[in-house]
Subunit: 688 residues, 2 copies
């Protein structure tokens, strides 16, 4: 497990330029795959048909992961840890699908997920020229920023009107290019199968982001439209044998974000400001939830998914931070930048047009650091408070012209936003209180009692009293009230006496001031300077490269292979034997315990069945749930993690040790058939 898109857990997305690639590196867009490179190295030709089929068989899940269709009847494979949020939201004290797993033996038993959206990339279009034309005459970064927002909103709106498809304009190559991505969007997604958490996440937090592994981190969903499963030829054929070691394989998925082309000053900001503060926040959140969990079994059940996600983020960020503290990594980064800078400086025209990009970004980072405490410690860690804040913003934003709204409130995005806002997923008030109390305690100690945000939230009360006073009486846990407020608009929100809305109204100006300040002082400067460096990079290194990850569809290639590990070599794959070895080695103590059916029916299994394997494909958080595809376009595995050596992959790709970790199709087949009585699903996948 583990490589959830970090952006879905905390706002951390950057997304700048790209590298001249080496090894099997690269998060390639489907518009610009390295056809020649793969042809030369692997003697395999990526055809348009192959690419189209893979693209249309791949999906993005709004919970932060990826997936793929594996039957003509909308059967969708992703990771358990991607589907985990939906399993949690569908569970109750009586039916704990996380702990016990779930299998819908018949269609009517499939569970509708409350707020999962699945997107299929239908088409892409280069709109760089339109964006540039609209921003060319701006007088300063702030004005350029506003113009860029405006034209992007217009393009998205226009596309939505014309096609009815979800339409997003994204910046690639650090703003060197802008692209319109159109998605077919599905919101009726049902849960078909999930193993026990213990089986999906065997080894727990210790084994997370490591290899060798023994996790059946899979879940099966089904995509419906108009009350019926969709029918489509765009699915990946199930290959229960997997691919041989050393074979060329592809990963098609949605890597969340990479910062491989950040400037050194940006990386230093991450290392010295962002990561330490994020780790501090995450660890406090985990502590608060663990305290809450200890109060009852039902509380533990409620908090489990959150703790899981937070621990995942801590391990990822901790690994990234350690990577950045490795002098070798920073030395490499500095040397790369010096080389690039020298190439720009040597050319008078490049120098005059782009040469000050680095200094401008460094200045923006310095400014950002001055208000870091406010950025990181104005959090309330409450779903209810976040819903309230969004409602207060919503009613104000939609009155503005589309192009002037805050991010997330453009016309083309409102459908998806409302789907989230009106989610019927349960909200547990006692957990909300525990979370908010913990967050306010941290805000108080870090931002200080004099901070405007802290003063407003606490209003003279203790963190606990402030949390209780807002959470206990609010009715915002009822989606009907949220709908009513959104439909009632500004008047309804202004008139509401609900304590969450009251608080959100008070905090709104503080948030807006912060957003504005960041846009004016950091984002607009970073964007403009980023575009300069993006263009400079094109000029120096050409265009045969890939953009940093942006949680959009990418293709990576590589082979199944082991790697040097801790004094020896890690095997290309693990088997069910290893699952039983690791469990026994820890005396079956959690998190190395086995689910009952795995203990009891071990003798029915072929223990030599491969369960996990590693490839040197370039992946990153967000690729969770991506299919591993062989040359024939068949699915041979399911990406669910990266190894510990891959964590610094956000900044630098080391083909020697960076590995993607996948669930093998053989183990999925063996387990579905022999342990879960799901032969019917196997038949569907195999087209029997």
């Amino acid at each position: 497990m583990a490589i959830l898109n970090r952006c879905s857990v905390l706002i951390l997305c950057g997304g700048l330029l790209s590298f001249p690639s080496s090894a099997d590196e690269g998060l390639w867009t489907f518009d610009n795959p390295p056809v020649k490179l793969i042809q030369e190295k692997y003697h395999f030709t990526l055809t348009k048909e192959w690419l189209d089929h893979v693209r249309l068989s791949s999906v993005r899940l709004n919970d932060g992961g990826s997936g793929s269709f594996i039957s003509p009847h909308g059967l969708l494979l992703t990771n358990h840890h991607v589907a985990r949020g939906q399993l949690q939201k569908s569970s109750t004290a009586e039916h704990d699908y996380i702990q016990n797993g779930f299998y819908a033996a018949t269609p009517d038993q499939e569970i509708k997920s409350p707020d999962l959206e699945v997107d299929v990339l239908m088409s892409t279009e280069d709109v760089t020229a339109r964006v540039e034309a609209a921003t060319r005459n701006a007088q300063n970064p702030e004005q350029q920023f506003a113009e860029r927002k405006k034209i992007i909103a217009a393009i998205e709106r226009e596309s939505l009107d014309k096609t009815g498809l979800r339409s997003d304009v994204i910046a690639l190559y650090q703003g060197g290019e802008y692209w319109l991505y159109r998605y077919k969007k599905y919101t009726d997604i049902r849960i078909v199968f999930a193993p026990e958490q213990q089986t999906a996440f065997f080894g727990g937090d210790p084994d997370n982001f490591t290899y060798p592994r023994y996790d059946l981190d899979m879940a099966l969903l089904r995509v419906y439209e108009n009350g019926q499963p969709i029918h489509s030829a765009n699915y990946l054929k199930w290959n229960p044998k997997g691919a041989p070691d050393g074979d060329l394989v592809f990963v098609s998925g949605n890597p969340g974000s990479t910062e491989r082309l950040d400037t050194v000053s940006q990386i230093e900001y991450q290392r010295d400001t962002a990561f330490p503060n994020l780790l501090n926040i995450l660890r406090h959140r985990i502590e608060a939830l663990q305290k809450f969990s200890a109060t009852s079994e039902e509380h533990a059940r409620q908090a489990a998914s959150q703790i899981f996600n937070l621990q995942n983020s801590v391990k990822a960020i901790d690994g990234e931070e350690k990577g950045l503290k490795d002098p070798h990594v920073m030395d490499t980064k500095r040397a790369d930048e010096e080389k690039f800078k020298a190439a720009v400086t040597q050319n008078p025209q490049l120098k005059s047009e782009y040469g000050n990009g680095w200094d401008e970004i460094a200045e923006a980072e310095r400014k950002a650091a001055t208000r870091a405490k406010e950025v990181y410690y104005h959090g309330v860690d409450s779903s209810l408070a976040n819903l309230a804040a969004t409602i207060v913003e919503y009613v104000a934003e939609i009155k503005k012209p589309d192009g002037e709204r805050l991010p997330g409130f453009h016309d083309a995005q409102l459908d998806s936003l409302r789907f989230q806002l009106f989610s019927p997923a349960p909200i547990y008030k006692q957990m909300e209180t525990a979370r908010m109390t913990g967050a306010l305690l941290l805000d108080l100690s870090e931002a200080g009692a004099g901070d405007a945000f802290v003063r407003t939230v606490l209003d003279g009360r203790t963190p606990h009293d402030a949390a209780v006073a807002t959470i206990e009486p609010t009715k915002l846990d009822d989606p009907a009230l949220r709908k009513q407020l959104i439909e009632g608009g500004e008047a309804a929100v202004a008139a509401s006496a609900d304590p969450e809305i009251v608080l959100a109204r008070k905090l709104d100006p503080i948030r807006r001031e912060m957003i504005k300040w960041q846009e004016d002082n950091v984002q607009s400067v970073e964007q403009r300077a980023g575009e300069k460096l993006g263009k400079a990079r094109f000029a120096v290194y050409g265009r045969s490269t890939y953009p940093d990850a942006t949680f959009t569809l990418r293709l990576s290639y590589g082979t199944i292979k082991g790697y040097p590990m801790n004094g020896t070599i890690a095997p290309p794959k693990t088997t069910l034997y290893g699952l039983y070895d690791r469990a026994a080695g820890f005396n079956y103590q959690a998190p190395f315990n086995l689910a009952a059916r795995w203990r009891e029916a071990a003798h029915t299994l072929d223990l030599a069945t491969p369960i996990n394997f590693v490839t040197d494909n370039d992946i990153i958080g967000g690729n969770s749930g991506s299919p591993v595809i062989d040359k024939n376009g068949e699915i041979v595995g399911l990406i669910f993690d990266g190894n510990i050596e891959s964590l610094v992959g956000d900044f630098i790709f080391d083909g020697e040790t960076n590995r993607a970790v996948a669930v093998h199709t053989a183990a999925m087949t063996e387990a579905l058939r022999k342990l879960y009585g799901a032969q019917k699903l196997i038949d569907e996948m195999l087209g029997n």
Copy 2:
């Protein structure tokens, strides 16, 4: 496998002082075990009876390892990799006991090993006062060195005459103390059981010095005296269940050498001079033997053990070198030394007596470096040449008064030396030629054509021609000729026209000059300064500590427990499941292939049987074959390796990650019984 005493492979033994201990650190002498510490931490009292029984059940093997008696009939357990040399020497092209393993179902099938000596420590005696009295009035280091040699030889001789026991005087605590160790010596050792190399050393060089592991690195020998198995109550009771995780366990064995109390200048010499040169030599030797191996299957068989030992040394030294290049390790060493130095300097008396110890050693290291090329590149890597050199030295040395002889030629040592000299073990001339050619090529390129040694050996010929000219015509591969020369004394050696003896006579003065120069300029200074620092350490830190390892019997304590590893945690134990997992994960490719009986009879095994486990006992090369003993004095495991994190243990002990790796008694029992048909041995071990 892996922790053969490095001293047995290359002369590298140092052996200085000791640490104020922390964690479960310490290589304790049986005279001074940490009774109070263990009582306080583990509530277990080491009694004299317990210690005596364990000491008398423990043995040292002259091949560089340790072992223990496990039955009243002289049955001795050690590692396969310790017994490997004897297995190799007893094998032929027709009977390859390395590849196929060996089991003597009846006593008459037991194979007598050609040159294995086993020593049991019978008594120890502090002789510091006698050594100090004899050296107190020396005028300079050289004279002190000579006087020390003289008194030590006298004490050893006197003890031998009185007791008939092998008698060695050893320096502990960097010369702070001198002890007389008396051993009961056995030289009729027979091979009873060995698994296939592939089973003992599963995972090969990659897995060597790592964990998790799955090796049945065991061999059973039987100790005879007067043609009969010995009978003794001094053996360890076989505990086929092993000890539970977290339980207190002891290791009794002979750690070869540690340099934990080397000065920083000595460690820097190791890092910058010794290790790079040793690695260079070892890698060249491996290359030469691998080339030789490629020429035929029989050559491969002949060279296998040597390659094995050399690769083991490379991995160990490489790990140590990497450890010393870790700034944290050297910073810790520097800080420790500064602290110690400050404590000495603050006290005027200590300062005047001992304060210049560090500078004297640093000066000796500087001098040593000036002739490093000669030290490291005067090697011929030929068993025949080494035998010849020893014979030439022998006849000259024994004419001198005992106290003035070169090390190894004192009266008390001659028995053991002759046992080695007259070994009937086969010597393969083609392999000798390959080794010598390789060594001379390296000498030529490193020491240069003008070097006296190189000039003498080559005498105008190419390395290959020089090797052939000495090795092909020599008769020294016949032990009878060696005996004849030794018995004929100086006259016989002077008259010999055997080309190996002729060459050895020519090289003798060059070797002697080098030895003398080292004694006068390095060893004598290091010894005198070492004694100063040893005494200073007693004065500053007291005596509740342990001496650096000296390949003499030590006791270490600790518990069975996992450790943080590569982003996750390593389990306290592994099981047979894991063996099959790792084999399958690498598609059964060497070195991860399984011996036939393991493939074919897998279904008869209880795969949950533990095979290896880790403890935080402090061990080092030479501890190979040591028993792991529980509180009841029963044997629960067999030390065979350290993890990769332990390699820097030569210089610094980190209780957090440093682990000893042992074979579990359960797997030895399961395999002997179910796979090797050796129920009879199990019955003997269990006293049935």
